[in-house]
Symmetry: C2
Subunit: 336 residues, 2 copies
Amino acid sequence: MANIHDVAQRAGVSIATVSRMLSGENIRNRAAVEGAIAELGYRPNASARGLRLGRHHTIAVIVPDIANPYFATLVRGIEERVMTKGFRIIVASSDEQFTAEREVLGGLIDAVDAVAIVPAEASDRTHRMLADLGKPVVLIDRTVGDDPEFDLVHVDNAGGARMAAEHLLSLGHRRIGIISGRQETLPGQVRHKVFLDTLSSAGVQVEPEDTKIGEFTRSFGERAAQEMIAANTGITAVFVGNNTMAQGALLSLHAAGVGIPGRLSFLCFDDFDLAELLPSPVTVISRPAIAEGHAAADLLLARIDDLETGRQRKFMHKVLPVALTVRQSCAAPATS
Amino acid sequence: MANIHDVAQRAGVSIATVSRMLSGENIRNRAAVEGAIAELGYRPNASARGLRLGRHHTIAVIVPDIANPYFATLVRGIEERVMTKGFRIIVASSDEQFTAEREVLGGLIDAVDAVAIVPAEASDRTHRMLADLGKPVVLIDRTVGDDPEFDLVHVDNAGGARMAAEHLLSLGHRRIGIISGRQETLPGQVRHKVFLDTLSSAGVQVEPEDTKIGEFTRSFGERAAQEMIAANTGITAVFVGNNTMAQGALLSLHAAGVGIPGRLSFLCFDDFDLAELLPSPVTVISRPAIAEGHAAADLLLARIDDLETGRQRKFMHKVLPVALTVRQSCAAPATS
DNA sequence: CACGTAACTGAAAACGTTTACAGTAATTCC
DNA sequence: GGAATTACTGTAAACGTTTTCAGTTACGTG
């Protein structure tokens, strides 16, 4: 494997001249150096460059679980965008554990230029940990602590929840259930609150027994739906806070023979594969995961650029639009 | 950010002594060094270590598309396993392009210890490119070139295809269609061939007009199913070579109002989310993506170990079992 | 006590690259 | 022609870590 010394010797110049040419400076005998590089198949050593420059052209991407389709798509969006600028991504799954985040980032922070993270916790300790990294950070979907010390990208949770509530109201639903994610997370809290507030301003209240709050997991969705079925409180519609919980809830409703939308209208935040092929194709608030990844990447790349040019810029808060995708899982409540 | 010089100064020893202690050697004043490390929050610089050692504790993982649920799960399996050995993963999506693979690997090969790849091509040029990397490589699912110069992990394509054929035969199907992936790829070829051979040994032939071969994509699946519907040759069952194509085929069949299994029995290789919730829950050959990732990681970690101990070992070829998961998309052909 | 050995130490060099500084040659201007 | 300026060069040091080699100290044995 050829190094810069080999190239310099072959071209009859110093290693400094080779390096300069690679950095875009003019040199006298460009042809000889280019020829040597091609003949030797030379590529600069990334570790050496990173060590000398303190810049690695690498982004750390931390998500709860790379196998989750939403996060996988988000990562794809980030990858696509940073790749166009010669960057690559290191990926790690946190399993919603702060300790995993801290461990991973501690071990690789001096080999990356910036961090994109879907944080496990909204806590002050996460806030501090991220601030102490001394690298640009973009939060995705969720906030940490109180100070606006990081860039943030998220979808229009409020707008989506409002659309969901209005859709169910417009169909005539008045006894409505909700399955929400953890209230310490931005998506969990905002979707929940805005859905309730929108109903409330139309004079509709969601009862405590019709409210389930827990993890954004499939198994929680299953359990929540099972409990609602068992409680049999007469809800005619349910709003589920994300697609993973919704998949679990659908399994339970199916197993219990609950007809959708005949007995229960069903609407969830986030789309998922084959939603349109289910017995009652699911009405969803759909979001652009790829675009969200692109937006996060753009914010980080801009931040990295700022570091090099010495520019100071305020923290950005970017909100991506969502859309109501009406399929067939919602109908007016049965009159009997 | 503290470096090893800071630690050495604070502990009153040389940097060599600090380094030795970190490498597990005995030193006289261990307490002082450990104390200095803790007080300064010192972590070794990964780039410097990698440069000096030529070892990075990093694995490159190249898959066609990280947003594809199967590959995302595979990557998760790899991540889980290598992480237990202090390794991390750099991920890139090739979009089934050799040129992307070559570009990505060229840029990061000196920053990683090994490569796990689902190659875009079975070609000699891919074989050569991977061999020239001079690092351990494990192929996943697909082979390259002819020589067995790499470790390989794949699922039991032959076993799965055989089970699929036998299942349809046992139900009495005699006019059967097949939608297969590219024949230059191991999964595409083996699943196709063994399915046909199994039918053939029971005296059943698949007609050319009932055979569709193309990309392992959803859109190809859609198109293939559309063509089969339009051809209306009277097939009573179809076997689809993977889950992505199957999802596309299901969309087309649904749109055309083709009843499953009433008019057409449907069976595919690979499972997918919510398969059991479809109007006719899909019968699949299911495979263990996480376990496949684990197996690939284990082979690579063993290879890395070999490099350090100087051990020579033959190339491994690991085959993971698949299973027939019977749901309700297959029935005996209608008698009318 | 003298000698040999084991255990540890620090200085220096290595890994591959970038760049500051001093030097040289060529060009331009007065 | 001489002085100033520009454009380029190579040497040496930097980045943070690991490890070789030479040196020192402590211990055990005859």
